[in-house]
């Protein structure tokens, strides 16, 4: 399966921006069955400088500055990603979840240490007894980790409503929990909060999801969105992905941009500008399957 992806972000400013300092996390990650074959960033106006760096979590960050005064910033990331047709949704993780939690601090293998950091609080996710309580409806005593994880994913899918108007990037996870509404990013944060509250390592994954047009209708260009989901660590196998927004296990329809503790570590595009003041933001994602 090969995808051709375009992810276009447009900022329009009310007043001219004299200088901008930006960082993008828009290069698909090569990991497991997914491979980024090609990627480029088209930036208008042309950046004065550009540099790339791999961050602490292994994601590729692109830094750029814009010196010329501008009213509009357009960043278009184009990529080609191939996903191995062999990839299957993970299915079996039989160890009782309590054991996974118990083993996490003691596993001093490089993978174990790396995973363990995702048990702790991060800027946007603070574990709490409330989240633990909610999670325990799925994570009942002695239950197999995999079953419990899928159950929690399904619960969030059932009990929370997708509502793009209910939240913003600044909405706290506690508020999402209270409102029972939000978008993919909120559900991912919530599920991570639940898992971490049970001392289970969980990380935030940023990426894209292929959407299917209604039967008989052509695929709409630009109708896709950037997406976010959750990855939980299971010793021996590794990271198990779940998508609470769609209640499914990501496989060939999900492309990964990067992962981190929460949205703040992998936000697709952020920056600091001089001037500008009020701005509008438009994001258009197009994910075109080339074959398969």
């Amino acid at each position: 399966m090969i995808y051709k992806i375009s992810h276009k972000t447009t900022y329009k400013y009310k007043y001219p921006v004299s200088f901008g300092n930006h960082v993008a996390c828009l290069t698909p990650r090569t990991a497991g069955h997914r491979r980024c074959d090609w990627n480029e960033l088209r930036i208008r106006p042309l950046p004065a400088t550009r540099s790339e760096r791999i961050d602490y979590f292994g994601n590729q960050l692109s830094f750029f500055t814009i010196k010329e005064p501008h009213h509009e910033l357009v960043v278009e990331a184009r990529s080609e990603v191939s996903i191995d047709d062999e990839v299957k949704p993970w299915s079996d993780a039989p160890m009782p979840w309590e054991e996974v939690a118990r083993e996490a601090p003691d596993d001093r293998s490089p993978e174990g240490i790396e995973a363990y950091q995702f048990v702790f609080e991060s800027p946007r996710i603070r574990p709490s007894p409330e989240f633990a309580h909610y999670a325990q409806q799925a994570f009942t005593p002695g239950r197999a980790f995999g079953d419990a994880l899928l159950d929690l994913t399904a619960r969030i899918y059932r009990e929370f409503r997708f509502d793009a108007k209910a939240t913003t990037v600044r909405t706290t996870t506690e508020e999402v929990f209270r409102k029972r509404r939000g978008v993919c990013q909120d559900f991912a944060h919530l599920q991570i909060a639940c898992l971490r509250s049970l001392n289970l390592p969980a990380r935030y994954v940023s990426g894209y999801l292929r959407t299917y047009p209604p039967p008989g209708r052509p695929r709409l260009v630009g109708a896709d969105v950037s997406h976010a989901w959750v990855s939980a660590y299971y010793p021996g196998i590794g990271w198990l992905d779940v998508d609470p927004t769609n209640n499914l296990v990501p496989s060939r329809s999900h492309v990964i941009l990067g992962w981190g503790r929460d949205y703040g570590d992998v936000s697709p595009l952020r920056g600091l500008i001089l001037g500008g003041r009020d701005h509008t933001l438009k994001v258009a994602v197009d994910m075109e399957p080339l074959e398969g």
Binding site: R108, P110, I113, F120, S267, R277
Partner: protein, 831 residues
């Protein structure tokens, strides 16, 4: 007094007293000091002390207390008596703190690098991963010479058995060294003979070494080094400005710096200049809103990336705050053996990190014996003393610990040692903590031979500058000869430059200097105006009163509007004068203007001489009116105020090097004065009836030009002659011509030219000179205004109005060209 000293020394038998072991005799190393102190008469001591206090106030030595209503102007509190430490004892401390600093540096190198200590289990992974001080964007970056720590502060306390213990480590942006330096100069001034006799180790070499160490961090010769401060509202801002001046580094705020092409630049009035080393006093996570805290206004977007590219060195390295956590303390003895192959020389105060199961259990059962603190300083929480809690509160606390054990540490409370504190001739005994400093020279580690001693504010044993504690100097009594030539500062009465030719003038600083010039001049004009009014309003006849009211109305200008309701009677004018003089709620009052002088002056105090800073400090006190003060007495206050303002402008002229700083200061002053003179002169271009001629006299007084006038025209008041003195006389420093021709000079010296405004100023000057006042027919008393010649007067009036419009626009243009890019704060998007 000394017997007092010894008596109070034994106030509390459970603690170590620094001065005396038995309450009868001083300890051996104190004896000569005590003896010499006794030779000084208590009155003399009191006199010296009050001199020192005045100096502290006037030099603007402050420590800002966030909750204090006095805000940014709280004077630094220092004690006259130093703490004495003998050389052998100091050597033990010195070895201990140097070892500790090395250890902490090595530890940081591993935690931000290969993290072998996590794999081996020597450091629990939780300690790193739950620590908000662990800044992931900094992990794996190359730190030049592995120097994560450039300067470390280590707080020590002495327990009853005489042992020193480490209370805390300050590793990201340690404060206090500058205060220690200032304490030394003050106490050295009060007790010069004792200081010399005691063979006290000097501090200057330490700071010289610091300068050199920072120079070595740079990649090129003659690096540009800046001191990054959070700004004047920070609690230790005084220290930042003091150190920047002392070390010769430019003091900058985040907004003064910008990252371009992965390099850091300082925005100066001459353009962007590359910065090689940043000595920072901004906390880790606030340093880069792009990669660290997005909500920080104190940082420089892109700084982390510039560090990653190896184009700038930051001291201490970003992320060093990680090991300020007390949770690391229980692991240090083991780490010291593992990393340095030595045993830890100086113990930490007993510390339990609740993140360890056994520690949590022990702490929960022994809350009586410990103080609970946040494990990570980023979490704000007041320490809780377990012994103060009731049974239920204790249970609640234990529950809190169990809910989030990683976030708490418990520490044993050390019974702090006590030292004598002098207070107005009486002596008290107070608990002390000493803050020591260790410097990484790049090849070696050295300790500052001295310390900032912090003293509890009352009899409690809580030592906190934020809670109003005092500080002391610490004298290390050397047993080898010290070189007395190593003095700290140049003599204070030498002229101090605002800017050296090699020093960069940040745009923000230029902005403040410009407004310092404008406000100081505005205050001077206002004070003269008010004094002219006050001395006359009571004995004015009807027509004189009308003139005074008209003079008052001259304060109404394009820039500043007077209240709509104008005074009509003498009483009303009196009320208005007092309001204009003292009302802080009015932006146009003298009191507000002086407050602005103090504010902008405070923003650039590292650029001003101590004398200038002192004058600014005194100014606002001069217009504080006592409740039952007679109206006429106000004029004496104004005279006092004018003396200070004149002294200030005198220093501006005579004691300031003609660098860019002076240029902007002068531009501000000249533009402001030109605005006032133009406004006043316009008032008398229209013909005055004879009964209003006293106004001319008042005008001359306001413009401080009465003498000039009399020397030319004796006592006869002639409108045309007054106009000449105030407008055309290029030898009168108050005249319009004088302001404009100086503006032409100043505009020519600007680092980047403003050709259009220079042309406009020149044009205004030649226009002014084109008037022939003798043809400006001014009606004489009794005569009706003639039609002929009035054209010239109308043209004059029109030109003055035009000039009044132009002057503020020139000021705005300067602002836009030189200052504005320093003013706009970056806005975060996409977060």
């Amino acid at each position: 007094m000394i017997s007092d000293l010894l008596q109070i020394a034994l106030r509390d038998e459970g603690v170590y007293d620094e001065l005396s072991a038995d309450g009868v005799a001083p300890r051996l190393h104190w004896a000569p000091f005590i003896q010499a102190l006794q030779q000084i008469h208590p009155d003399e001591l009191a006199k010296r002390w009050s001199r020192a206090e005045r100096r502290i106030r006037e030099n603007g030595i402050t420590y800002n207390i966030y909750s204090d209503p006095l805000g940014a102007t709280r004077p630094w509190r220092i004690d006259l008596l130093p703490l004495l430490l003998p050389a052998p004892e100091w050597r033990v401390i010195e070895a201990g703190i140097i070892q500790r600093a090395r250890l902490l540096n090595t530890l940081l190198g591993d935690l931000y690098g290969p993290q072998r200590l996590l794999a081996s289990g020597s450091v629990p992974a939780e300690l790193l991963f739950a620590n908000p001080g662990f800044l992931r964007p900094l992990a794996g970056l190359i730190v030049p010479k592995q120097a994560y720590l450039h300067l470390v502060a280590i707080d020590l306390a002495r327990s009853p058995d005489g042992q020193w213990w480490v209370l805390s480590d300050r590793t990201q942006a340690p404060s206090g060294a500058g205060y220690a330096l200032e304490n030394r100069t003050i106490v050295g001034d009060i007790l010069p003979d004792l200081f010399n006799a005691e063979n006290v180790s000097r501090l200057a070499p330490f700071f010289r070494a610091q300068r050199e160490a920072l120079t070595h961090l740079a990649q090129r010769e003659q690096p540009r080094i800046v001191l990054l401060t959070p700004g004047p509202y920070n609690e230790t801002y005084f220290e930042h400005s003091y150190l920047s001046r002392y070390l010769g580094f430019t003091l900058v705020e985040g907004a003064d710096l910008t990252v371009r092409d992965r390099c850091v630049y300082i925005k100066t009035v001459a353009g962007l200049q590359q910065v090689d080393v940043i000595l920072r006093r901004v906390d880790d996570s606030f340093c880069d809103p792009l990669e660290l805290r997005a909500d920080s206004f104190l940082g420089i977007p892109g700084l982390v990336d510039a560090i990653a590219a190896g184009n700038v060195a930051v001291a201490n390295a970003l992320g060093s705050g990680l090991i300020e956590t007390a949770a690391i303390m229980p692991f240090l003895p083991g780490l010291c053996r593992q990393l340095l192959g030595e045993s830890l020389k100086l113990p930490s105060v007993a510390t339990w990190w609740c993140g360890q199961k056994y520690a949590l259990d022990w702490v929960s059962n022994h809350l009586d014996q410990v103080v609970i603190k946040p494990a990570f300083p980023a979490r704000l929480m007041e320490p809780v003393f377990g012994a103060d809690l009731g049974k239920i509160e204790k249970q609640k606390l234990a529950d809190r610990l169990r809910a989030r054990p990683l976030e708490y540490v418990a520490q044993e409370q050390v019974a702090l040692s006590t030292a004598p504190v002098w207070d107005n001739g009486r002596v008290f005994s107070r608990s002390v903590v000493i803050r020591t400093f260790v410097l990484n020279t790049g090849t070696d580690w050295v300790a500052m031979p001295g310390a900032l001693v912090r003293v509890a504010g009352d009899e409690s044993s809580v030592v906190s500058m934020q809670r109003g504690g005092h500080s002391k100097d610490a004298w290390i009594l050397s047993d080898t000869p010290v070189d007395p030539s190593q003095s700290l500062l140049r003599p204070r009465n030498q002229p101090v430059e605002i800017r050296r030719a090699s020093n960069d003038l940040p745009s923000r600083t230029a902005d403040n200097l410009f407004w310092l010039g404008r406000y100081a001049e505005r205050a001077e004009n206002l004070a003269r105006h008010l004094r002219t009014l006050i001395t006359r309003v009571r004995r004015a006849n009807r027509s004189e009163l009308a003139c005074l009211i008209r003079l008052h109305s001259c304060l109404d200008s394009r820039r500043s509007k007077l209240p709509k309701k104008r005074p009509a009677t003498a009483d009303e004018l009196e009320q208005e004068i007092i309001s204009l003089m003292t009302d802080l709620k009015r932006g146009d009052s003298l009191a507000s203007t002086l407050a602005e002088v103090q504010r902008v002056g405070g923003n650039v105090r590292e650029r001003l001489s101590l004398d200038m800073t002192r004058l600014i400090g005194q100014m606002s006190e001069t217009v504080q009116v006592e409740e039952y003060m007679l109206f006429v007495e106000h004029s004496a206050l104004l005279t006092g105020c004018l003396e200070l303002l004149s002294a200030f402008s005198g220093m501006e002229r005579e004691n300031v090097t003609r660098g860019q700083g002076w240029l902007f200061l002068s531009l501000g002053r000249r533009l402001e004065r030109a605005m006032h003179v133009a406004r006043q002169v316009r008032e008398i271009t229209s013909p005055l009836p004879e009964e209003e001629w006293p106004l001319l006299d008042y005008m001359l007084e306001v413009a401080d030009s009465s003498m000039t006038y009399r020397s030319r025209y004796f006592t006869t008041l002639q409108p045309v002659a007054v106009l000449d003195v105030l407008m055309m006389d290029d030898s009168n420093p108050r005249s319009l011509d004088f302001q404009l021709s100086h503006l032409v000079d100043l505009y020519q010296k600007l680092p980047r030219h403003m050709p259009e405004d220079l042309r406009a100023v020149r044009h205004a000057l030649s226009l002014l000179r084109s008037f022939d006042l003798e043809t400006v027919e001014y009606p004489l008393p009794g005569a009706l205004p003639t039609l002929s010649g009035s054209d010239e007067r109308v043209r004059l009036e029109r030109s003055l109005k035009e000039l009044e419009r132009l002057l503020p626009s020139w000021s705005n243009n300067l602002s836009n060209t030189y200052f504005s890019h320093a003013r706009s704060l970056p806005i975060t998007i996409g977060e």
